[in-house]
Structure formats: structure tokens, C-alpha cells
């Protein structure tokens, strides 16, 4: 018995060491800095201004997807934003698109997926999430037009108006310094994960220098402080959860019989994809932990199609988030929302599994 527990512990610790040495320095540390910069430096009100009431739908959808990509790195800001877009802004459809993209295309999750599972998975994850977000938004607002109109009547004043003033005073070159800043940050990550040999250390050193100089020259002390404290906040919040998740994934790998997953999800069938999706819906893992979990499933013989289906479904909905969404959408729309996600992710798993072998 003791031997058994000991071997489980060893498996967990081995998984931890492997992840920490392979991914933390090159991928996660830059990813935390990027997420921190996004929260602290992007002009949030300016982005939200474009999601006001009178924005035509063809603009509202891409913009909400973009907002989901850029803004909501922290899960607790998603719901007020969602409720705000729905009731005071562009309406239910774009609000749902936002609600979908925000967790699904979380910048850190995508970068981590790329680093651990390969960039093919990461890119598929972004592209499919964006497509689903828009499709689900359009379908639901088309089915429930009546509810939409009624809710619009209840909407009082537009939020966006008052926020115009605070952002108009921003200097125009703000955008360029932000661009430079993010390009450098992303380059550090790319050089760190993709370049080999001595060029990597040299490249990283130069890029960090550029980053530091541009932070000092182009940004105020308060902005740099806000960036660093947001970065630290993310690290503090996510890192322990991630280590715990990796440890548990390692233990599970040792615990589960070798062919357990392969039996149910080893081939690219409808049922395999559906099981993977349902597992993703009903299990809740904190942000980023789905990635080491997926790596474990892959190691245990899960096929690539179901794996992608799982990765697409897991961050978007869990039982907890379904309950919250129900409060704002009602039972019927929530059921359709969840149903559509299950159908879409299952189908995309099937397609992905057929293309990639």
C-alpha cells in the first residue's frame, strides 16, 4: 500500500519537474508578463466604446470577439462585461460571442497550449473558438428575437457615452508604443520557445533590454508599476493552481489503467468526441490546468480529434458557469447555448481528427 502511494507521489513530482523545466521559463513567464500588460495597459474603455447600442451587427460580432480576446484575462471581469454588453450595448448575440471567446481564447491558455501540445492545437483552438463564438451568437439571437426586443425596451441609458471623455485626451501615439511593447513581449516568447542554441539566449537578452528601455522611456512610472503588479497578480493566482493540476495529472497517469482512455476515446468516432466534450463540460479545471490534463490524455492514448473537442469545450462551460449564465439568459436560451456548444465542439473534433492523424 505504502509503495503504491509512494509511486503515485513520484509520478506526480516527475510530471511537475518535467513541466517546470520545459515550459515555465520560456513560455509561462513571458505569458504572465503579456497577460499583465494586457490588463494594465490596454485602453479598456476605448475598446468597449465600440460595443455600444447603435453599432451595426456586422461590426458588433467581430468587435465582441476581439474584446473577448483582448480584455478578459481575469474571469471575474467577464460577467459584468457580458451583462453590460447584453443590456446596455450591442445586444444578446454579441454578448454571447464575447462570453464564449473570453475564456476560450484566453491568451495564456493559447500560448501554453502551443508550448505543451504543439502549435497546431493552439491555432485550431483560436480559429474554431472564434468561429463558434460568432455562430452561436447569431443562432441564439435569431431563435430568440422576441426576448431580445423586449429586453432592449428595458435598457435605459447607454453606458458608452460617459466613457468617451476619459479616453479622448489620450495622446495619439499611445497605440504605437503599445504595439511596440506587445511585439517585443511576444518576440521574447517566440524566441524562447522556438529558437535553439546560443541564439536563443542572445536573442532573449537583447529583447529584454529593448523591453526594459521602452518601458522606461515610453510609459509612466504608474503604468510600469501597474503592469508589473498585474503580472505578479496573475502569477500568484494561477501558478499554484497550475502546479497542483500538473501534479494531479501526473498521479492520474500512474493511477489509470493504460488502455482505459484508449478504449473510450482512442479512435475518432462520434461517441469518442462526445464523451470528451461532456467530460470537458462537467469537469471543472482552473484556467490553464486543462492543458497538462490534455497532455496526459494524449499520453494515455486519446485520439487527437476528441482531444481537441475536449480542449474546445472545457474552458468555455462548466456546471458552475452554466448556473451563472442561466441567471442572465433564462433556462431556454441557456439550454440552447450549451446544446450548441456540445454539438459544435463534437463536430469539430470529428473533423480535426479526420484531417490530422
Amino acid at each position: 500500500m505504502l509503495d503504491f502511494i509512494y509511486s503515485l507521489l513520484v509520478a506526480g513530482i516527475k510530471a511537475l519537474i518535467e513541466y517546470v523545466s520545459a515550459h515555465v521559463l520560456t513560455c509561462l513567464v513571458p505569458a504572465f508578463f503579456i497577460a499583465g500588460a494586457m490588463t494594465a495597459l490596454l485602453p479598456k474603455e476605448q475598446i468597449m466604446r465600440y460595443l455600444g447600442k447603435d453599432v451595426p451587427k456586422y461590426k458588433a460580432y467581430p468587435l465582441s470577439v476581439l474584446a473577448g480576446l483582448l480584455l478578459a484575462v481575469c474571469s471575474c471581469t467577464i460577467l459584468p462585461l457580458f451583462a453590460g454588453i447584453k443590456q446596455k450595448g450591442a445586444g444578446t448575440g454579441p454578448a454571447l460571442a464575447f462570453l464564449y471567446t473570453a475564456p476560450a481564447t484566453n491568451i495564456m491558455a493559447i500560448l501554453f497550449t502551443g508550448s505543451v501540445l504543439g502549435w497546431q492545437f493552439a491555432v485550431s483552438r483560436i480559429i474554431l473558438s472564434v468561429i463558434f463564438a460568432v455562430l452561436i451568437g447569431i443562432i441564439i439571437s435569431a431563435i430568440f428575437q422576441k426576448e431580445d426586443v423586449e429586453e432592449e425596451k428595458n435598457a435605459t441609458q447607454a453606458v458608452s457615452r460617459e466613457q468617451v471623455q476619459d479616453t479622448k485626451t489620450l495622446p495619439f501615439f499611445q497605440r504605437y508604443r503599445l504595439l511596440l511593447f506587445f511585439v517585443t513581449l511576444v518576440s521574447i516568447l517566440i524566441v524562447g520557445t522556438r529558437v535553439a542554441g546560443i541564439a536563443r539566449y542572445f536573442g532573449i537578452a537583447v529583447l529584454i533590454l529593448i523591453q526594459a528601455v521602452s518601458a522606461i522611456l515610453l510609459f509612466t512610472k504608474e503604468e510600469v508599476y501597474a503592469w508589473l503588479s498585474e503580472t505578479w497578480f496573475f502569477t500568484k493566482k494561477i501558478f499554484p493552481l497550475l502546479l497542483g493540476g500538473i501534479f494531479i495529472a501526473g498521479v492520474l497517469t500512474a493511477l489509470l489503467p493504460q488502455d482505459f482512455l484508449a478504449t473510450f476515446m482512442g479512435t475518432n468516432t462520434v461517441s469518442a468526441n462526445l464523451i470528451a466534450v461532456l467530460f470537458g463540460v462537467f469537469m471543472y479545471f482552473p484556467t490553464l490546468v486543462e492543458v497538462p490534463m490534455a497532455k496526459m490524455f494524449l499520453g494515455l492514448g486519446m485520439a487527437k480529434g476528441p482531444l481537441l473537442a475536449y480542449l474546445l469545450a472545457d474552458p468555455v462551460i462548466s456546471l458552475a458557469s452554466i448556473l451563472v449564465v442561466r441567471k442572465y439568459l433564462g433556462n431556454k436560451r441557456t439550454a440552447v447555448y450549451v446544446g450548441l456548444i456540445i454539438v459544435f465542439t463534437t463536430i469539430s473534433g470529428l473533423i480535426y481528427g479526420t484531417i490530422v492523424r
Partner: protein, 78 residues
């Protein structure tokens, strides 16, 4: 003075709440602090990013945790 702290109960919102309490204690203010966690109320008051801080019904800050000094200034201390 009426102070409202908006936040659904995440770490940052709690931090803002406790900092506000500290400032009030330090400045010895007679202020009523209300914590608002209902999302519909937030939307109706025009709050999109949490945490947010309202003083006497006016939005002073949104979407970030201000520093201790900033809160002090908002509350009229130097």
C-alpha cells in the same frame, strides 16, 4: 459620505474593499461603506470593469485597484 465598492467578490475587489476600510480608519472619516456584488446593479450604474469605486454616487475609479495614496486622495485626505 457614501462610499460604494463594486465587485462580484474576486480577489482584487476584496483588496479594494479592505483598502478603503483602512483609509477611512486612518483619516477618521464618518463614511458609510456599501459593498455591491449584484451584477445587475453594476450594469445599471454603468460599471463594466470591476472593481469600481463610487463616492457619493460618482464613479471615481473602474477596472483596477488604485493605490493606497490614490484612495486617500479620492476620499479627501492628503
Amino acid at each position: 459620505m457614501k462610499i460604494e465598492v463594486f465587485g462580484p467578490g474576486c480577489q482584487k475587489c476584496n483588496k479594494l474593499g479592505s483598502m478603503v476600510d483602512d483609509v477611512i480608519k486612518e483619516l477618521n472619516l464618518a463614511a458609510e461603506v456599501v459593498k455591491v456584488s449584484d451584477i445587475n446593479t453594476m450594469v445599471n450604474r454603468g460599471v463594466m470593469f470591476t472593481p469600481a469605486l463610487f463616492i457619493d454616487g460618482v464613479k471615481k475609479c473602474e477596472g483596477k485597484v488604485p493605490s493606497y495614496a490614490e484612495i486617500k486622495k479620492m476620499l479627501g485626505g492628503e
